[in-house]
């Protein structure tokens, strides 16, 4: 399961404000949830 090890190992490629790839993936998921929420607000507001 070497790819799982790759996820948790510190990475020089990561942006300085993100400590691990897992955290980066959580940010991507949070971004998706935020977008869906904003789109839902837009739908409700302009319908």
């Amino acid at each position: 399961m070497y790819w799982l090890k790759a996820v948790s190992r510190p990475e020089p490629d990561l942006p300085p404000f993100i400590s691990s790839w897992n955290r980066f993936y959580v940010i991507v998921m949070a971004w998706l949830v935020l977008l869906i929420f904003v789109f839902w607000l837009i739908t409700k507001h302009f319908e």
């Binding site: 942006p15 991507v28 739908t43």
Partner: protein, 569 residues
């Protein structure tokens, strides 16, 4: 188009091609030619991945789709960020560590040659056929808008792409795409800004969006589950996830893009950039369609946006009938315009009663105009039964060529050409990689020199380029098959994804079981697709699950029969 527009168009395209050729000079081996020596930074990978997915139809069709159907198309991309995460965790590190040229190469290491050959063959069929269509569709629209024969627009797009892809390989593809996407973003931003400034004075963005919303165009999120509805949040998140995972994980045109990253981390960053930017980008493109929709509430739209079809009917015996419908539509527009102006006034008062009344009047006026439009479309069909009654793809370019200032028209036409060229370049590069690495090098000539493989790669690029151009020139005769070819990806991606998922996660399943599962699944999916049993987006998920399930069952049966056989011996 004015001379200024032609100059802008030619200068934009030439600049990009020269830049790509210059940056990619000096390819001496296939590692450089097909993988770019795995030396590219994350932003080049990210832009290249985005440019590969965003074909010309993305920019032509999406604003038109928002115009006629609203914003709900954006939900199609909701599965994409999740797919990027799975790719970053599994596909990217495995492909990088094994130093593969193509995704299918890995399958031989995990299973056997026949599984690799089957998936490579399915990819070549699907990508070879669909790339022809990705040139044909914009070439058709551009030829109608620019009044140029479609053969010339097809040969121009195809010929230019073959030249720089053959010369520079994957690096030329990535560097041209980096610049292409930058120009595309800038051009679309300008188009949106100019489109907004053309709205009647004092309308405002909020009122514009309210106006579109009152006519059902701000339907960004639809929570209702319906397996036959392509665009709701469930089909977007679940069906879209499988589609995007299949596309980015198993289609060599995408795998070849992120394999050029200088490290696992750079490839991952490129994919994550795509996951973060793609949905907002698509939202903004659709928003341009909403602005065009609002614009045409106050300005006379043509009764049918495909001007070529209109010119044809006006030269037919049905011209009188069509002109009559056109005049009625123009009269209906005046009523609709008044209703739209009343709606803006009502919105400014913030009086719910007035707003509801104005909405009823506006809907009635729109309904009346649409009824007359359908009458005109019926006349078009009577004049020529082969006429495509869907003019969605013509809405945005009609607006661009009639209302945008000189120079910007040329830039936006260039964007359509560039988008078409970007996706075709990736496709040609991936078709050449698969042909040379998975077939020529593996099965026909395994011990040849680097020079021989370089020559074979260049030859395969030219050959596939000619096949795609031929396909594009012939596409006009395909009729209903055209849509089938467009959806071909969904018939094949799910099966290939299933094979990869088994390879990664179901360790006890061997090559024979997965091969049988892939063949059975492909037959089932083709039957389901042919009979229209579910919306095509779901075929990816079904195909993937079927391969996993059948492979596990076949492996279990094989395991039981193995000791029996050995006892017989």
């Amino acid at each position: 188009m004015s001379l200024t527009d032609w100059i802008v168009l030619a200068a934009t395209i030439l600049t990009i091609v020269i830049y790509g050729v210059w940056k990619s000079r000096g390819s001496k081996n296939i590692n450089n030619y097909l993988l770019g020596d795995q030396s590219l930074p994350w932003y080049t990978v990210g832009f290249s991945v985005m440019a590969t997915q965003a074909s010309a139809i993305t920019f032509l069709s999406a604003p038109g789709q928002a115009y006629s159907d609203g914003m709900r198309f954006v939900q199609f991309y909701f599965g994409l960020p999740l797919a990027m995460i799975v790719l970053c965790i599994t596909f990217v590190p495995i492909f990088h560590k094994l130093k593969v040229f193509t995704a299918y190469e890995y399958l031989e290491q995990r299973f056997d040659l026949k599984t690799r050959a089957l998936t490579a063959f399915l990819f070549l069929i699907q990508r070879g056929l669909s790339t022809g269509i990705t040139i044909y569709a914009p070439a058709l629209i551009l030829s109608a808008i620019l009044h140029i024969n479609i053969t010339y627009t097809t040969l121009f797009i195809g010929g230019l792409v073959i030249c720089y892809t053959v010369y520079g390989g994957t690096k030329a593809v990535s560097y041209t795409q980096l610049l292409q996407m930058s120009i595309i973003f800038a051009g679309l931003f300008l188009a949106g800004f100019v489109g907004y400034s053309l709205l009647p004075h004092g309308t405002g963005l909020s009122n514009t969006l309210h106006l579109a919303g009152k006519l059902g165009r701000m339907n960004v999120i639809d929570w209702k589950f319906d397996p036959n509805n392509r665009y709701n949040i469930w089909s977007g998140v679940i069906g879209g996830f499988f589609l995007q995972l299949s596309y980015f994980g198993t289609d060599q045109s995408q795998v070849g893009r992120y394999l050029t990253g200088s490290s696992i981390g750079q490839s991952r960053l490129g994919l994550i950039m795509n996951g973060l930017v793609k949905i907002p980008m698509q939202f903004l493109i659709l928003m341009i369609g909403i602005l065009v929709f609002a614009f045409y509430q106050f300005n006379q739209p043509p009764v049918f946006f495909n001007n070529y079809a209109v010119e044809q009917v006006k030269q037919s015996p049905y011209a009188g009938e069509f002109n009559q419908a056109e005049q009625e539509y123009n009269a209906a527009f005046v009523i609709r315009k008044n209703a739209a102006e009343n709606m803006i006034t009502a919105l400014n008062t913030k009086d719910d009663g007035r707003i509801n009344l104005a909405q009823m009047q506006l809907k009635a006026a729109n309904g009346q105009a649409n009824t007359i439009r359908q009458k005109a479309i019926a006349v078009l069909q009577k004049a020529d039964p082969k006429t495509d009654v869907n003019d969605t793809n013509y809405v945005f370019l009609t607006f661009v060529t009639h209302y945008l200032p000189k120079g910007l028209i040329g830039l936006l036409i260039a964007i359509i050409f560039l988008a078409s060229m970007g996706s075709m370049a990736s496709a040609l590069n991936s078709l050449a990689s698969t042909t040379v690495v998975d077939i020529y090098k593996r099965m026909i000539n395994p011990n040849a020199s680097e020079k021989n493989y370089m020559l074979a790669s260049r030859g395969a690029t030219v050959l596939w380029g000619l096949v795609c151009i031929g396909m594009a020139l012939y596409a006009g005769h395909l009729g209903n098959l055209l849509e089938a070819v467009n959806q071909l990806g969904s018939y094949i991606y799910g099966t290939i994804l299933g094979v990869f998922v088994v390879a990664f996660y179901v360790k006890h399943v061997q090559g024979r079981a997965v091969f049988i599962a892939a063949v059975i699944t492909e037959v089932i999916i083709l039957i389901m697709g042919y009979r229209n049993m579910v919306a095509y987006l779901w075929l990816n998920a079904i195909g993937c699950v079927l391969v996993i399930g059948i492979a596990v069952v076949v492996e279990a049966i094989e395991k039981q029969s193995r000791p029996l056989k050995s006892r017989e011996i």
